[in-house]
Subunit: 237 residues, 2 copies
DNA sequence: CTCTGTGAAGTCATTCACAGCG
DNA sequence: CGCTGTGAATGACTTCACAGAG
């Protein structure tokens, strides 16, 4: 453990490792080497060892890592041992789809409120879980009352910056934004944007250039066995 | 124009520039300098000049770039001057939310089919646009008949790899995956994964470490005016 | 004088390669 | 032996800094 600054690329990969370890644990596998783990998502084994090395020495030389133990370590590192409470702003298609999304649960996130500015929607309950839709102007109070610590922005781009300001004013420190807009968060607030427009346009770029089979440089296909096209561009999710 | 390999980071930024140029054009602004553009998303102006430099010389020294002209260039570079036809596999919450999503339209993408394996859903029409839900086993035929060139995977993680195999077998070369799974695409197929789990867990990591106000190194806050927390981690969307 | 285009420098990330533990 | 942990080497991306066009 050497208290360096950790890159987000590293934390993203930790998520991936954790997911894999959960599967391995469920399959009853007890230990795994960095090499074997790396092969799961064609990644360099040194990368995995380095990533883990930022947080401690979890492995046993000659053996590898104990699956269950490492699983618990990463869970703790990622702060997934405590539940996070999520408020979704925007009760449109996307907002309600997210409210119904099971993936939240599996990472110990719980959606506890929706917000909207549409009078028709306010006061209703939505989705399987019957999550209440609140007036967006009441964010501050609901955040306090429900202990919300993560906001999800699912409103049109033009409203997104205003919503971000509102939720940060309410004390939220972590925001996942789906609006295709470049937002500015004040210092101390973690903003992650999932921008479908960018993703799509990047696919379009690729389609416009069939010759570039893989965008990244082709010369680096060295002696090593031909990799499947580089897994998920780089886990930027 | 020097036919180098272009990083995906560059193409992602081109999307962002384009979005901004569209706004500027709509506002009747005629020219913009790399500096002014850079300030919109606190980014270094040299970055923008470099990004554009890969594709040609679009600027005029002493002036900057002509908004309308640059807009058209980038549109062309990203292949957004031709319409792409999208098939969404998985007609659940997310799939139908995406089918209703307007953002596709704005980037010249058109959702023309949904696919599912649930007999209840197959044959129905979904959402405002009334998009037909087909049997997923008929992907190959529908792809051909409707000229689909982009697939969106919106199925549970355990089914995702199989679906990816099906759509690539049908000749699709560009896939946007929403399943939280590490997929392997065969060479020549561009796969982009939008992984909510990773995004959420990365927020969780941040929340677990309030001291790390911004994860990335704090020392580099140089003489330059304090930036708002680095815009959107790095446009990985 | 302003602003582009671009080599050169700097910073950050990944991979190599190996000492050394179990 | 095999496999971790980690400096050193490589590679990728960003920023600097400036020559030169307009």
């Amino acid at each position: 453990m050497k208290s360096e600054k950790i890159s987000e690329l590293t934390t993203n990969r930790l998520s991936v490792y954790l997911r894999c370890l959960n599967t391995l644990a469920a399959a009853g596998i007890k230990t795994i080497s960095s090499r074997a783990l790396a092969e799961q998502f064609n990644l360099n084994s040194a990368q995995i060892r380095k990533d883990l090395g930022y947080f401690g020495e979890f492995g046993l030389r000659g053996v590898g890592y104990f699956v269950e133990e490492l699983r618990q370590h990463i869970t703790k590192i990622l702060g997934l041992d405590t539940t996070h409470r999520v408020g979704i702003i925007g009760a449109g298609n996307l907002g309600t789809a997210l409210a119904n999304y099971n993936g939240f649960r599996e990472s110990n996130f719980e959606v506890v409120a929706l917000f909207d500015n549409d009078k028709e929607k306010i006061g209703r309950r939505v989705g399987r879980a019957g999550i209440m839709v609140y007036d967006v102007r009441k964010v501050e109070r609901v955040v306090r009352e429900k202990g919300i610590d993560v906001a999800v922005i699912a409103v049109p781009a033009r409203a997104a910056q205003k919503v971000l300001n509102q939720v940060t004013a309410a004390g939220i420190k972590a925001v996942l934004n789906f609006a295709p807009a470049t937002l500015r968060a004040r210092h101390g607030v973690k903003l992650k944007t999932v921008d479908l427009t960018i993703s799509l346009e990047s696919l379009s770029y690729f389609l416009a250039r069939p010759q570039n089979a893989s965008i990244t440089n082709p010369r680096s296909r060295s002696k090593r066995a031909v990799r499947a096209s580089r897994v998920d561009e780089r886990l930027n999710g």
